[in-house]
Symmetry: C2
Subunit: 427 residues, 2 copies
């Protein structure tokens, strides 16, 4: 049955982030069912979803509580236009997001995916200055960053693989040295030099706080963010925190910025916001930014962004269910034990000859391999071998990483790390 | 209760496409419930949703059949990563989309919203040539067009209101004369001149077939599209059909391109695809385009676009339910009678002094007003007065339009047109 469905799929579908020719050799796996931390294919195989289905799932597949809330919501209202109208799930969600995110983030703009959230933050930061008569067409991000796929989000990313081919049609942006790759002071000095050199021309600085996930799971310390916040204040540019991947508990705190004790001017959220159920994103920002667009209609300073499904009722209801679970089950606290266990189990792997580094930030743990030529695609081999053992990982090149759903048990954590450890010894 | 929720909303939420200051005077309406063609607020008021909640709803709010399919799906699988894995709802949807769209569109790439679909078509059309060693950094669209909000989609739009403020950060694109504004031959000649002048530099031409919805519901004939198809073939550039708003029966046929008897190279779909339930979009394209990205991984010609929720299982299941309804209930056929009724009821309105034109294409009917100064915001007044009569419309400037869900009854159509007719006489 797997094979039949795979063939049917390959007739019609171009999959994301995939060289389709790979599927001549690597089976595409049709999933029939998901429950808890497991996904089940059509041939009876079961896989532990150790990367939360691309970093989105928090409380397991087909979660009973979230399902019950969906059933309730669709009987009432599935969706309504969000211009001129509103609904309770969005109001509740907005209030709750404002309450749990760093201080000063007072307003919420909804969208459908992470890329769209980034685009909104970029456009708003640019238009903020435009509304005051300034043109600031420059954006600064970090080397090794990834912020999404749409042309604005891609323009501020620094992932050669995704971006290079499009360089002729992308806005030119500036990448500062990343604290994940160089010394923190060197990184902040580089940022200072850039902000000075282009003073008055830069609208915003965009970072992925603590972990550059798509950028090989490279990590850095909160102290950089604290310094960067001060620098952005000093230079009067906005700080956009892209917590699309790291938000909602991934780094150990509810939001990564908390660890730096700062508030960004814009906070972009998505992925975990719906616990892995469906697309939704949100951009939070300050009252000051909101006010810059608040004026008589005829002044023409409105922020007119919209997507058809902005503030989708069903998605907001799901996000509220996710926040319910965070509250009721004291998730951040409970994750600490799991984080510690992952740390204990993986620490010694750093001593292996084929391991360059083991790094961890909260519920994200990466094992960087060494000694394999890129064309060997060692990550792909780990994926295939681990899958045979019922463990689903999706290495980024030679980086094996774990980013499991928070409902993962200690036993499952041991299995997850154990399978990779075994493979590290034989591959 | 409306008032209390409105205040709570305004504390936290920045609404799409809205000057928030307007809500000092115009109440923001919290919707409690939707059923069929109606939405219900918290004070017991009921409104006929005559614009399908921003052109997305097809078969009514809280549709029993769609609800039943959602309940089934979430018990099985809500979502799974769509790289390396697949699922039956996506396979079924892709096959069905390929079967019902114009011939030659053989492959499907999923995304989350219309803007993201446009970005994918733009990037793919650009990279197609890049993979063959050509750089074609130009895109052509029509004057008065609208294609979305992310920076690529916005760059090819020609809606001053949305785009002008961002001109310093948007890719420069070319707008050809639109057949909705000038004579068809003049428009096609202008396009020919542009394609000739920039030969070898243009990747694709993007149009909204038949109706430029956000562009004041301006309409044009299928014959332009037929001619444009021939011209794009002759000049060897791709034709992208943005049927995000006009697809799924809006113009009377399942897809607007059918009326021109042509197939585009890329077809972008969203909005109605989920019947108004939740975000999803799809880009269909030809085998030839697919093949341009199909090669050994190490050649580096992959199309690496991805969003976390690409191919979202729940959204695909909803889209399949929508297609079930189209099939089972013979919707396109049944709409003909409704289209005729709307036509009969609105025809005479063109004789009124304050009406410049009545135009209709299938289930889209627009009444263009005249003699009102822009600063009077006459559309807004129509919105407010119609709402008092239980009819929800959302004029675009001085264009009143109807774009009702397909389940609207003859009686409801009469009420919808009747209320506007009454207002035309007194405003």
């Amino acid at each position: 049955m797997n094979e039949k469905l795979m063939k049917e799929d390959l007739k019609y579908i171009f999959h994301p982030c995939t060289q389709m020719k790979d599927h001549e050799k690597i089976p595409l796996i049709p999933i029939k069912k998901g429950k808890g931390a497991y996904i089940y294919d059509f041939d009876g195989n079961v896989y532990l979803d150790c990367i939360s289905s691309w970093w989105v799932n928090l409380f397991g597949h087909s979660n009973d509580y979230i399902n019950s809330k969906i059933k309730e919501q669709i009987e009432e209202l599935e969706h309504v236009i969000f211009a001129g109208f509103t609904h309770k799930p969005a109001i509740d969600l907005a209030r709750r997001l404002v309450n749990i995110t760093p201080e000063g983030l007072e307003k919420v703009f909804f969208a459908d995916n992470g890329s769209s959230a980034i685009e909104i933050a970029l456009k708003m930061s640019f238009q903020y200055f435009k509304n005051r008569g300034e043109s600031r067409p420059l954006f600064v991000s970090l080397e090794n960053s990834y912020h999404g796929e749409t042309m604005g989000a891609l323009a501020i990313s620094d992932n050669g693989l995704y971006k290079e081919v499009y360089s002729d049609i992308l806005l030119k942006t500036i990448q500062a040295k990343s604290p994940s790759l160089v010394d923190e002071d060197e990184a902040i000095n580089d940022m200072r030099n850039i902000l000075k050199k282009h003073k008055g021309k830069i609208a915003s600085v965009v970072i992925e706080p603590l972990v550059q996930c798509a950028g090989s799971m490279k990590m850095y310390n909160p102290s950089y963010i604290t310094k960067l916040r001060a620098l952005c204040d000093e230079m009067k540019v906005f700080l956009i925190a892209d917590e699309i991947a790291v938000g909602f508990g991934r780094t150990g705190s509810m939001f990564a910025c908390e660890q730096a004790g700062i508030s960004p001017d814009f906070l972009c959220l998505s992925k975990g916001i719906t616990g892995g159920y469906m697309p939704l994103s949100a951009v939070l920002f300050t009252e000051d930014i909101y006010d810059a667009f608040y004026c008589d209609y005829n002044e023409g300073k409105s922020f007119l962004d919209s997507h058809s499904y902005t503030g989708n009722t069903l998605a907001c209801a799901v996000a509220n269910a996710v926040l319910d679970i965070f509250e009721k089950e004291n998730v951040i606290e409970k994750n600490r034990e799991k984080i510690k266990l992952i740390s204990e189990l993986t620490k010694s792997l750093a001593n292996l000859n084929n391991v360059k580094e083991v790094r961890q930030r909260g519920m994200i743990c990466a094992i960087e391999l060494q000694g394999y030529a890129p064309e060997k695609r060692i990550g792909l081999k780990f994926f295939q071998e681990a899958l045979k053992e019922g463990v689903y990982i999706r290495p980024l090149g030679n980086i094996i990483y774990f980013m499991p759903p928070y409902i993962i048990t200690n036993e499952e954590i041991k299995k997850m790390v154990g399978v990779v450890e075994k493979l590290l010894h034989i591959m």
